[in-house]
């Protein structure tokens, strides 16, 4: 009887941990979802923008101390949120001066719609940002230690790490906010239109370059917020982007290309699978479990969980 009880506790503990981790993964995937799923730009550097978000949050809270006056609880949260606008500006500038040359209306008629050039360029971003980070921040793993990182809320026998729980709640809120922005606001709709069909968007008077720039900044900014939230739950170094870029692409494809909500569910699923797999598999096989589930879903539902099939004309 006791055995069964502890098995159940373990199960619910893993379920809770999976949901909490998955929520942040979901937000991360939503960021990539805008860039990869909607704009169809293959961004290799997405993980590195997330890494920048982590360091932005870290330095805002500790290095410059600007946020110390907010206290040990609100400070890290504000730091994570502020990482968004900082990385938005970086993304905006990179798109303005570099990536914009290989995206949007001017490349629709180019071979493979400019994807080759995009891949090379974002791979370049990834290398420069990772190694630039190594020079600037050093290779020593650091973490944003806050009281929340160590404390937990107890619900019955289940422990919820405070930093993760808060990250989960904020992630859900940001994902919902972004979804509403893209589906309800006029600016959001024009961003989707410019991504869907750049030429037709220009014909209806949308500035396609500007739209793509905002969408790219938004995509990397959202992922950076997720990074900022993760910064207080685990240690990181400049190479961490690579670990997460795989999770993000898997999440976006799993959820279904082009679906923002789908990207969130994709990320959540990955978090759940990762944590639940530890119940039956050795810890080291977490990522293997993710990809087995990924393959199964893609095998039985190639358009992803929430993907919609339409004829591209």
């Amino acid at each position: 009887m006791d055995d069964l009880k502890w098995m159940l506790v373990d199960f619910f503990q893993a379920l809770a941990a999976g949901l909490l981790v998955g929520g942040t993964y979901g937000l991360m995937c939503v960021g990539l979802g805008i860039i990869f799923g909607v704009m169809r730009v293959v961004n290799f550097a997405q993980g590195d923008f997330m890494m920048l978000g982590m360091y932005a949050a870290y330095y805002l809270v500790t290095g410059f101390g600007v946020l110390t006056f907010l206290g040990p609880y609100a400070g890290p949260i504000a730091g994570a949120i502020l990482a968004g606008p900082i990385v938005f500006v970086i993304g905006w500038l990179l798109h303005r001066y570099l990536l914009g040359r290989v995206t949007g209306a001017r490349v629709v008629s180019a071979e493979a719609e400019g994807h080759y050039a995009q891949i090379i360029m974002t791979l370049g971003f990834a290398l420069v940002i990772t190694n630039g980070g190594l020079i600037l921040f050093g290779s020593q793993p650091i973490s944003l230690q806050t009281p929340m990182s160590r404390e937990s809320w107890e619900i019955g026998l289940i422990f919820l790490n405070q930093a993760r729980a808060i990250a989960f709640v904020l992630s859900v809120l940001f994902a919902i906010g972004l979804y509403l922005f893209l589906t309800q606001s006029n600016l959001g709709k024009t961003l989707r239109a410019a991504a869907d069909n750049p030429i037709a968007a220009a014909y209806v008077g949308i500035n396609v370059d500007r739209s793509h720039r905002i969408a790219f900044g938004l995509g990397v900014g959202i992922t950076a917020i997720a990074g900022g939230l993760i910064a207080s739950t685990q240690s990181f170094q400049p190479y961490i982007g690579f670990d997460f870029v795989i999770v993000m692409y898997a999440g976006v494809v799993l959820g279904g290309m082009g679906s923002i909500l789908g990207a969130f569910w994709g990320g959540l699923t990955i978090g759940l699978v990762q944590q639940m797999s530890t119940l039956i598999l050795p810890y080291q096989l977490q990522n293997t479990a993710i990809f087995v589930v990924f393959l199964l879903i893609i095998f039985f539902r190639p358009q992803g969980m929430f993907g919609r099939i339409w004829e591209r004309t």
Binding site: A201, Y203, V204, I206, G258
Partner: protein, 235 residues
């Protein structure tokens, strides 16, 4: 309204249009006809600003259109309904129409134009929350035209609305275009391969062949011209 003077357009070294001049007066229905590869779509893309000309002039309501960036030309009242529909496939029918109304005038007149569009193409009303990519070709064409009208344009440019559609649907769409022209007094510039249908409804026509205007004139002159009758109307 629209005045084009000795327009030259080239893709790389390949000449697509040479010395094209064309006039559209306010309230007219002007058709540009010609075979595949005559440069009809290039002409439209140049008017919309997606393609830059080598030389020549385009004036619209007395303003030099070539100095205006592409995305601001829609604000001037030019609506381009592109070849092959080009609807926003991942967005709903309503969202597509809203995107059409992205211009200042379109937003102002949205409340009275939307019912007009839905009355013109009732099928769009039935499918308003369906994704545009799931519509049939004919429905997409209607949506593309509706999107153009939603911008409250002064000049509606239609690039081959008959493309890839069944004859019965083409007839219906042409009938709707004529209706809009007659009842709303909208100026229309139409580009078509289906010469008979296009010439039938126009006030004025141009025949474009390999990038040159080989013939132009009023409706009656063109349809009674022996060469046009033989080459295009099969008479």
């Amino acid at each position: 309204m629209l005045k084009i003077r000795s327009l030259d357009v080239a893709y790389g070294g390949l000449k697509a249009l040479s010395d094209v001049s064309l006039d559209v007066e306010e309230g007219q229905f002007v058709a540009v006809v010609g075979p595949n590869g005559a440069g009809k779509t290039t002409l439209f893309k140049t008017i919309s600003g997606v393609v830059q000309p080598v030389s020549g002039e385009i004036t619209y309501k007395g303003q030099n259109l070539l100095a205006v960036p592409a995305d601001e030309r829609a604000q001037l009242g030019i609506a381009h309904v592109p070849e092959g529909r080009q609807v926003f496939a991942s967005m709903t029918v309503m969202e597509n129409l809203e995107m059409g109304a992205n211009t200042r005038k379109g937003r102002e007149r949205w409340a009275d134009l939307l019912p007009t569009i839905l009355e013109l193409f009732p099928v769009l009303s039935e499918r308003r929350s369906q994704l545009a990519g799931t519509l049939s070709g004919g429905e997409q064409q209607m949506l593309a035209i509706g999107r153009g009208i939603a911008s409250a344009p002064d000049l509606l440019m239609l690039d081959e609305p008959s493309m890839g559609l069944a004859p019965a649907i083409v007839d219906a769409i042409f009938e709707r275009i004529q209706f809009v022209h007659r009842n709303h007094g909208l100026t229309i510039l139409l580009v078509e391969q289906r010469v008979a249908e296009a010439l039938e409804s126009c006030d004025r026509g141009y025949v474009l062949e390999t990038g040159r205007v080989v013939m132009e004139g009023a409706h009656d002159t063109l349809v009674s011209d022996q060469r046009v009758r033989r080459a295009y109307l099969g008479m």
